[in-house]
Amino acid sequence: MVNFWQLTQNELKKIYIQKATWVMYILLIVILFGAALITITSDFITRDYNEDTWREELQEENNKLTKEMQEEAIFQEYNTGLIEQNNYYLEHDIMPPGYGAWQYVHENIILVSLISLFTIIVAAGIVANEFKWGTIKLLLIRPSSRVKILLSKYVAVILFALLTLLFLIAFSWLIGALFFGVDGLNPHMVMEKNNGLAYVSIIKEVLVGYGFKMVNLIMMATFAFMISSIFRSSALAIGIAVFLMLAGNSIVMFFAEHSWAKFILFANTDLSQYVNGNEPFMEGMSLTFSIIILLIYYAFFAISSWIVFVKRDVAGS
């Protein structure tokens, strides 16, 4: 029995030794710096409040926001939200937090989509490239079963996603701390929750937010992995998976009138539709429903990769 961890370690090494992987990380760093620079140069979002005068400052901010949305209708919704938040602080007499490292991390939840893209690229290559390089032959003539080798590759993909996600969080925090300062160990802020606005821990929000995004990430990575091991082509796997990731919501919307639309994968990948007072996408959907649908898709992806990889001949290159 070869230690499963040895195989996984091999796969991780191969991922991180490639230049393409480092390009991904460099891109992420550049984006995090860029976004921080943009944030710090745009005026009042990032300001810290004064302990004595914060009530007046909030009031002034509200006036500004109201004036802005009277002039430009598109700001209506966004600004109303901000005004409601400010009012919550005033009513509960809580001094609003400044903009700090954790807020920056929270805003970068959107970058999880970029990590999904990176993970798709890695998942798409991890089986197909071995065929392209011809190394699959050397990989498979070892005393490990094909299932074990396939599984070690899959686990390496998931570990890559987790490590990159941790990197995103850690680096966002560092850059956030550098640009905006650290705002206490466990900063709180007012956010829209199940029962209207509430004063919540930002760190908890960060974890929950990244967690919800992970669902889509893992589903798409597993999908790309399946295409990679069935068709042995990374370009095809990247193409289809990225297309579906981008078009997923439109596909769901397009079929929204049909009752079977709720069975489409992408109708179920955003589990945050069931929290924070949001409405589920369609009637008859619930958290349990979505989890069952996700598990069915997941099992289908995993089993198809497995059967094809284990059964098929490794013939001419």
């Binding site: 029995m1 070869v2 230690n3 040895q6 195989l7 370690q9 091999n10 090494k13 191969k14 030794i17 490639q18 230049k19 390089w133 011809g134 190394t135 032959k137 050397l138 990989l139 498979l140 003539i141 070892r142 005393p143 490990s144 079963s145 059964k311 001949d313 490794v314 013939a315 001419g316 290159s317």
Partner: protein, 326 residues
């Protein structure tokens, strides 16, 4: 091109006195892809300490056979038994005995030679750092081992491929066209490792090639395949008792020649060619007197008989057709 070297002799000696030294056995091995049968019932054995040539023109089915030997391709019918273990039923136990290069010595191009070897070493339990260094020096790659493989020449990649195949001290080494793209010096070098492995470590080595001239010097026996079928197995080095089975090349001046040729055909099933006044044919040494006797009985005058040992090349020409050896 008949070679009688000390190492060949040692192998044969060992081979004769060990009890069961079959390292690998092919049993009625068949492979069909779609409706097409590519391998049509191969059956032979390879002994420990033997260098076994697997010769055939391009497309004969050498790589397909090797892919089945190492479990990369499913066996349609028959079996491959390695050190007594079936690759079909006891894959892990059987593959543990095997080191191989299949088709091309492909490695991860973005990693160094050493990183590649460490990668494969991690896949098999019990390979020490020292063993990795040992195989590196065995193939003489010490200087280049820290370079990326995409900088390697084909010869260096072949050597790295062999190093990879030897990491776990396999008792069966399978090399698919290891001489492909190598210059004569490179081929000589490979020949030296392979002979050393067979004689000193008693490894059974299987070498495929489409070029007789490149492998005959390193093999003890050669199996010739064509269109997925075994057409001959031939010892390369004839030692006393092998001479009986040896095929000879005979040139005969006889009159009338056409009558002689038809008698050969009818009575012995041999094809003779008539060229520049001589009848040319191949036959086993022990049959030569019988052929001459029947000529005499049939009133054919014999003026001259010349017998020479048929070289492997002659035989290969006969079996495969001319344009396939280089």
């Amino acid at each position: 091109m008949v070679v009688l070297s000390q190492s060949n002799f040692n192998n044969r000696f060992k081979g004769r006195y060990l009890l069961d030294n079959t390292a690998m056995k092919l049993i009625n091995l068949k492979k069909s892809i779609g409706k097409k049968q590519i391998i049509k019932g191969l059956e032979f054995e390879i002994k420990s300490g033997e260098v076994f040539g697997f010769l055939g023109p391009n497309g004969a089915g050498k790589t397909t056979t090797i892919r089945m030997m190492v479990g990369l391709m499913r066996i349609t019918e028959g079996d491959v038994v390695i050190q007594g273990k079936s690759i079909k039923h006891h894959y892990k136990e059987a593959i543990r005995e095997v080191g191989a290069i299949v088709e091309n010595p492909e490695m991860y191009p973005f990693m160094t030679g050493l990183q590649n070897l460490n990668h494969f070493a991690r896949m098999i339990p019990g390979i020490s750092k020292e063993r990795v260094q040992e195989v590196i020096s065995l193939v003489g790659l010490e200087k280049a081992i820290k370079q990326k493989v995409n900088k390697y020449s084909l010869g260096m990649r072949q050597r790295l491929g062999i190093a990879q195949a030897l990491l776990h001290k396999p008792s069966v080494l399978i090399l698919d066209e290891p001489t492909n793209g190598l210059d004569p010096a490179g081929i000589r070098e490979i020949r030296q490792y392979i002979r050393r492995l067979a004689t000193e470590e008693n490894v059974a080595v299987i070498i495929s090639s489409h070029l007789l001239s490149e492998i005959e010097l390193m093999c003890d026996r050669i199996a010739v395949i064509k269109n997925g079928e075994l057409v001959a197995i031939q010892s390369v080095s004839p030692i006393a008792d092998d001479i009986e089975e040896l095929v000879c090349r005979v040139q005969l001046e006889a009159k009338p020649a056409n009558k002689a040729i038809s008698i050969m055909k009818e009575e012995f099933g041999m094809d003779g060619d008539f060229d520049r006044g001589l009848i040319h044919f191949h036959c086993q040494r022990e049959l030569i007197p019988n052929v001459i006797q029947s000529f005499v009985k049939n009133d054919i005058s014999i003026y001259r008989v010349e017998v020479s040992k048929a070289t492997l090349e002659d035989k290969f020409f006969d079996l495969i057709g001319e344009n396939t050896i280089g």
